[in-house]
């Protein structure tokens, strides 16, 4: 029993009493309290009590049976959704009633809010997960055939079975478009983010305000802009390049904004240390700020990519449509995965619908993969290293020490003793 080690409350009270009487200067003697008079049991600090559990289970049973009674005997109701809603309302009422038997008003309200928050959160998270799972499950039918990933739709009609045709042209098109878009947005976006955080002033504040407001630019407006300039004014045809430009316009503010947030998290004392050792601004950016923020920058680029490959409307306006494979982004129409989904889904044929779900599931899988990669390399604060990075840093530091020591040995050879030229201790990683 560990209860003996804790001092019983009565004994503590007695000590306080003794001290109080001692300071008062009177000679009242306090009767000694026997320490082991009663055995204490350890207090439970758990926030969940048995009665809470009973209240929830009881309310659940009460509401279920009451609703069942209402639906089968008393009221002319039917329908699954109605049953769930009525059960939920009954549950709230009976739970409040049960809690109010032994708790005051504020606690009853607290319990009710806790139930509502838990259930709404569960509802929304379940709905979100369900959206993804539903698409993946319905996509399996088309994705089971390998030709779905290897063929295009040039010789396949809507009525043909799923063993013919596929979305290879969409996968290739998506990859080409996103590559072009990344080639444009990554250098421009990250340079602009560095500008915003490193060269503060009125101009960079203006750029930041505009870029932030543009993060929620409707994607169709981005498409419309490229349609108005690149296609109507400059006279180019609809092509993969035009679509890539439209995606770039949409992705650019997203990447700038998230990269800016990451760069602002780089600790100021790192920057100041670099400047104090005599490095210029450019060297500080290149050797300190960008490496420190590397994982965060990669995450922001990948999340921007995930947004970019999923957008339909800019591609719809600028890429044209084709059922055949086209690997040249500068001429001829090119399709992307979301555009293929949108085209398939306009057909009433079950095979086309199945293909649409297959393409959507493929797209979803791409986004999931990108997201997992982003979480694996990102998710750490700036400057925090992985185990491998720490090892690499330690090895580098050890090599530096050896280099310094060998140099010190060379310097020490002609002159007998140089004061203070002892071995330089390695930095703690």
């Amino acid at each position: 029993m560990t209860t003996q080690t804790t001092m019983p409350e009565a004994a503590q009270d007695a000590q306080v009493g003794t001290r109080a009487s001692a300071s008062a200067g009177s000679t009242v003697t306090v009767p000694p309290v026997p320490v082991d008079a009663r055995t204490e049991s350890r207090r439970s600090t758990a926030t969940l009590r048995a009665t809470d559990f009973y209240a929830i289970v009881g309310a659940l049973f009460a509401s279920l049976s009451l609703t069942a009674l209402l639906f089968t005997v008393v009221l002319p109701f039917n329908g699954r959704l109605g049953f769930i809603v009525v059960t939920y309302v009954c549950f709230l009422v009976s739970y409040a009633l049960l809690v109010s038997f032994d708790e005051p008003g504020p606690v009853v309200r607290d319990r009710l809010v806790a139930v509502v928050v838990h259930s709404l959160a569960a509802l929304m998270l379940a709905a979100l997960v369900f959206v993804v799972v539903y698409t993946l499950v319905r996509g399996v039918e088309a994705m089971r055939n390998l030709n779905f990933f290897l063929e295009d739709m040039s010789s396949t009609g809507p009525l043909d079975p799923l063993t013919q045709g596929g979305i290879a042209h969409g996968i290739v098109g998506t990859l080409i478009m996103i590559t072009i878009a990344l080639v444009i947005t990554v250098p421009l976006g990250i340079t602009c983010a560095v500008f915003l955080s490193e060269i503060p002033g009125r101009f960079s504040r203006l750029v930041r305000t505009i870029a932030e407001a543009m993060t929620a630019l409707p994607s169709i407006v981005a498409g419309l802009f490229i349609y108005a300039t690149f296609i109507l004014i400059l006279g180019f045809d609809k092509s993969g390049l035009a679509a890539a430009l439209a995606i770039s316009v949409m992705m650019l503010p997203i990447i700038i904004r998230s990269a800016d947030v990451v760069l602002r998290l780089v600790p100021g004392n790192l920057k100041e240390a670099s400047l104090a050792t005599g490095a210029g601004q450019w060297r500080t950016v290149w050797h300190v700020i960008l490496p420190t923020a590397r994982s965060g920058l990669a995450t922001s680029v990948i999340l921007g990519t995930a947004r970019g490959i999923g957008e339909t409307s800019p591609v719809l306006l600028t890429a044209g449509f084709t059922a055949a494979m086209n690997t040249n982004p500068t001429s001829g129409p090119m399709v992307s995965l979301p555009l293929i989904v949108f085209d398939f889904v306009r057909s009433p044929e079950p095979a086309q619908i199945a293909r649409a779900f297959g393409a959507a599931a493929t797209l979803m899988a791409l986004v999931l993969i990108l997201f997992v990669i982003a979480r694996l390399i990102g998710g750490r604060g700036p400057g925090q290293l992985t185990a491998r990075g720490r090892k690499r840093r330690a090895a580098q530091s050890r090599r530096d020490v050896e280099r310094f020591e060998s140099r010190a040995a060379v310097a020490a050879a002609p002159v007998s003793t140089v004061p203070g030229a002892g071995p330089i201790r390695p930095l703690e990683p």
């Binding site: 607290d110 959206v131 539903y134 932030e212 100021g268």
Partner: protein
């Protein structure tokens, strides 16, 4: 100068050399100057691209707007080549869809944000945050497919029930069906503003939730613990500390969600059946939005029809821009001072 016992101040000597105030202008070498020039140029490029969007839309739209004048905002038909066109119907549709979406998304997003910050076990927290972030990256067409092929058929019963018992509430009635006729077809309840709104709500809820969670999590721990130490229940603490502190984030997050909801194209386009009359009944089939109008009609051949679409795009652009500006201002103000220098 010797220090004596008497507190006599040493005489101030006149300066030997007339010192000048040093100029503290930073000097940049060549690489720094190049870097600053390139960085400035990239900032200017981004600014130019972003402002060109508005300028080009305005230039291309000027034909149609000067032709239609103010009737562009009051006409609900869309026949640009006949000269009879306007965005009254699509604008009302856009706003209604956004309103339905916000009404549904904000309570859900707030519940999830509160759950993650206040109620969830610590082990689960990071997973839930990642899940919400992932959901914000799910392509809108995936939500659209789900809405069109799953939700549509599940919701008609609910829509019919609401229309039957709450049809007297404005916006909730259905004109083309008799709610008392049990055999009436349920197709009048499909492809409606309501269904599009639910889908858009699910799309924007992760974004709203992410912002609210961030702001809730920044509530100072001292005040939080102070409330609990005074004997507040968890809900009492949330109401007295967390919600007032996060008010700016809640409003700003809601408005950012509104901006996204106004501009959503594909999910809406897949679900609704487009109409060009003002359709105030959100449960009834037929709706439209500015974005889906553009996606529907962009293929029109004549220059003038394209110009009319650009005008519609310009209106959408200005609307979302105003909402976003307001939202980011509110969020930025609520976050001020929360960031720290290391």
């Amino acid at each position: 100068v010797t220090v004596t016992d008497t507190t006599e101040l040493p005489p101030i000597l006149p300066r030997a050399v007339d010192e000048k105030r040093r100029a503290v202008r930073p000097r940049f070498d060549a690489s720094d100057r190049t870097f600053r020039a390139v960085a400035r140029a990239s900032g200017a490029t981004v600014l130019a691209i972003m402002s060109l969007i508005g300028v080009f839309l305005a230039i291309r739209a000027s034909d149609a707007i000067s032709e239609a004048g103010f009737s562009f905002f009051t006409t609900s038909a869309w026949e640009p080549d006949g000269g009879n066109f306007g965005i009254a119907a699509v604008l009302v549709g856009t706003v209604l869809i956004a309103c339905v979406a916000i009404t549904l998304a904000v309570p859900l997003a707030m519940a999830v944000a509160l759950y993650i910050v206040e109620y969830a076990p610590a082990r689960l927290k990071q997973t839930l945050i990642s899940l919400v972030d992932l959901m914000a990256a799910v392509p809108s067409i995936v939500y659209g497919l789900w809405g069109a092929y799953f939700l549509q058929y599940q919701v008609t019963g609910l829509a019919r029930w609401i229309a039957t018992y709450f049809g007297w509430v404005p916006f909730l009635g259905v004109d083309s069906a008799d709610p008392n006729d049990p055999l009436s077809t349920s197709t009048v309840y499909t492809s409606s503003t309501f269904i599009a709104g639910i889908v858009v709500a699910l799309m924007i809820a992760p974004i709203v939730c992410a912002i609210m969670r961030e702001v809730f999590a920044q509530t100072p721990a001292g005040e939080r613990e102070g409330a609990l130490a005074l004997g507040a229940t968890k809900w009492g603490m949330i109401r007295a500390v967390v919600l007032p502190f996060g008010k700016g984030g809640m409003i700003g997050g809601t408005m950012l969600g509104l901006g996204r909801a106004l501009g959503e194209t594909i999910a809406v386009l897949i679900i609704i059946s487009p109409v060009f009359v003002i359709q105030p009944n959100i449960l009834e089939t037929g709706s439209n939005s500015v974005a889906s109008l553009i996606a529907l009609r962009y293929g029109e051949a004549t220059t003038f029809a394209t110009s009319a679409l650009m005008a519609a795009g310009l209106v959408l652009f200005s609307m979302t821009l105003v909402v976003n500006f307001a939202a980011s201002t509110i969020v930025a103000r609520s976050r001020s001072g929360a960031e720290s220098e290391g």
